[in-house]
């Protein structure tokens, strides 16, 4: 069924969009990532103009992560206090990121910076997670019952002032590193046009030392609000949110997110992390190929006048 999108001004197949939304929703429910790093490149691929893809992708992420959060709230795996602090940092970071993005586009080459950011961060995080979770899985296999992951209990982040008790995470740490993580992810998210879940999740596990079970719900909670903010900014300042496109993606997305969440409850944390690591690495590989392989056509068209 072909459908004409009022803002994007292109015709696309409605079922393709529902399918895309479903895949991304599944990832979202499984791993606690918003899926922005998947949906945006996928929308480019089917011919949605980039600006529309980024803004509408954010709107879709709101729906799928909200659906995911509700499921996690039911299972009591959301650390609300941690979520709010991360969000406060995230909003600041996101605003800074938008300013930085505009500066970069005035200098030209913003596309290259974005692409390099993707390859660098996805590659780094994917490799780290894969290595760590493979080791954990190996350990678990050898010693039978799963041992709790040894957390960096007395690292540098635990000696800072402004200590806050994050009960759901079982942590008593300073709020400053939490704000910093939120802010850094916000900056990167705004530049890369994503919610930042794929950076947030490993940062929460490895930098803040949160238990994996709580990480996903909390990350989704924070992403819901951050991408709602991004969507609103895009709708107001660039008129690039296509509600028709969003509805189709959302229909697939919310269903996918629910299925993903119930799958996630049955998988072991290490297995989940290995799957996420593989996914992150494959997206990274795909983007790296674009940089290194000769493109089909050396010329490309971008609407409007640039620079």
């Amino acid at each position: 069924m072909q459908i004409y999108l009022p803002i994007a001004e292109v015709v696309v197949n409605a079922f393709t969009l529902v399918g895309l939304g479903g895949i991304v929703g599944l990832m979202s429910g499984l791993f606690g990532v918003g899926g922005g790093f998947l949906i945006t490149p996928l929308l480019f691929f089917i011919g949605i103009p980039p600006a529309i893809a980024v803004a509408t992708g954010a709107n879709q992420v709101v729906a799928s992560s909200f659906s995911g959060v509700l499921a996690h709230v039911k299972r009591k795996t959301v650390d609300f206090r941690m979520g709010w602090v991360l969000l406060a940092g995230g909003l600041v970071g996101s605003s800074c990121g938008v300013i930085l993005f505009n500066m970069l586009s005035r200098l030209g080459q913003v596309d290259l910076v974005v692409q390099l950011c993707y390859v660098l961060f996805l590659g780094l995080i994917g490799a780290m997670m894969l290595q760590e979770s493979l080791r954990a899985l190996h350990r678990a296999k050898r010693s039978g019952p799963v041992k709790p992951m040894r957390r960096n209990q007395h690292g540098w982040v635990h000696r800072w002032p402004l200590k806050v008790k994050f009960r759901a995470s079982g942590l008593y740490i300073s709020a400053i590193p939490v704000l910093m993580v939120g802010c850094a992810v916000g900056v990167l998210g705004a530049i890369m046009g994503v919610g930042g879940g794929f950076i947030m999740v490993p940062a929460m596990i490895y930098l803040l030392g949160m238990p994996t079970k709580v990480v996903i719900g909390t990350s989704l909670f924070q992403i819901t609000f951050l991408s709602a903010y991004t969507t609103l900014m895009h709708a107001i300042f660039s008129n690039t949110v296509d509600i028709m496109l969003a509805v189709l993606l959302i229909v697939g997305g919310v269903i996918g997110a629910q299925i993903g969440t119930s799958f996630g409850a049955r998988l072991r944390a290490e297995q989940l992390r290995i799957l996420l690591a593989l996914l992150v690495l494959s997206v990274c590989g795909r983007l790296a190929l674009d940089l290194f392989l000769k493109p089909d056509d050396l010329f490309s068209l971008t609407p409007g006048v640039i620079g």
Binding site: V62, S67, L291, F299
Partner: protein
């Protein structure tokens, strides 16, 4: 239909003859109409076919010495576009050069009775801007590259690949040197605006008469309402998008809880 044809003719013939007064006082003139002069974009819009038809009016008998041909063009609204070129730098492919085109129609089709190069002199082509590459008009700012030509060629090539620019040799049928008809397919990826139809009557490579008529393409119904809302009340539109997302997220969550309880 006949009455409308006459009205359209009256409305268009006057400015045309004033504009192109340099064309020789035509012994042969175009009388034409379109099967429709407005196209509505609805949610299920997947393109539209327009028939451009007409006749050649003349007082004298048909001249036999020079061949008669008809060219029909349909041109969409012009928008700015930037053409960029990639080169390999330090092992990776980077956009290096760019050319900003201030005004290029987003849709342009040329239909002819016979191959364009055979029926139209080049100076006439330049004068009336008929062939596809001439549809691209203005460059904005000083060119940053030495040679603009590969960029404009790329623009035409990429748009042709998307079926947005097209040259249809032989798509106009001409009967008895009097009746002609062209079927033009407007693709699904249309943007809103006024599309200009031009008909050129040629004898021996020279344009002897022209005819113009507009086609109005616009969004209607839900498409129009959403488009207007997004532009005129962006805050409300943004809130609406979010409310929809939240409601859908909550709805799916509630529905799955129901399913699992069973």
């Amino acid at each position: 239909m006949m009455l409308r044809a006459i009205l359209v003719l009256l409305a268009c013939a006057l400015p045309v003859s004033a504009q192109e007064a340099t064309a020789p006082a035509a012994a042969e003139q175009i009388v034409a109409d379109l099967s429709r002069d407005d196209v509505d974009i609805t949610t299920s819009f997947d393109g539209s076919d327009i028939i451009i038809y007409g006749a050649i009016k003349r007082e004298q008998p048909i001249p036999q010495d020079a061949p008669l041909d008809v060219i029909v063009t349909v041109e969409g609204p012009a928008r700015a576009v930037t053409v960029r070129h990639k080169e390999r730098r330090l092992g990776i492919w980077v956009n290096t050069g760019k050319v900003s085109v201030a005004s290029a129609p987003n849709f342009y089709v040329v239909a002819t009775t016979r191959p364009l190069a055979k029926i139209l002199y080049q100076d006439e082509d330049y004068r009336f801007r008929i062939s596809v590459p001439l549809a691209i008009r203005a460059f904005s700012g000083a060119a940053e590259v030495d040679d603009v030509v590969p960029y404009t060629e790329a623009l035409v090539r990429l748009r042709e690949a998307n079926d947005l620019y097209r040259l249809d040799d032989g798509a106009v049928t001409l009967a008895e040197q009097t009746l002609f008809r062209a079927d033009v397919r407007l693709p699904a990826n249309l943007i809103e605006g006024l599309y200009a139809t031009r008909i050129f009557l040629l004898r021996d490579g020279r344009v002897i008469d022209t005819f113009r008529a507009p086609i109005e393409v616009r969004k209607v119904g839900l498409e129009r309402w959403l488009y207007r809302l997004a532009l005129e009340k962006p805050f409300l539109y943004g809130i609406m998008s979010l409310a929809l997302a939240i409601a859908a997220g909550w709805g799916a969550s509630a529905a799955f809880r129901q399913l699992q309880r069973r």
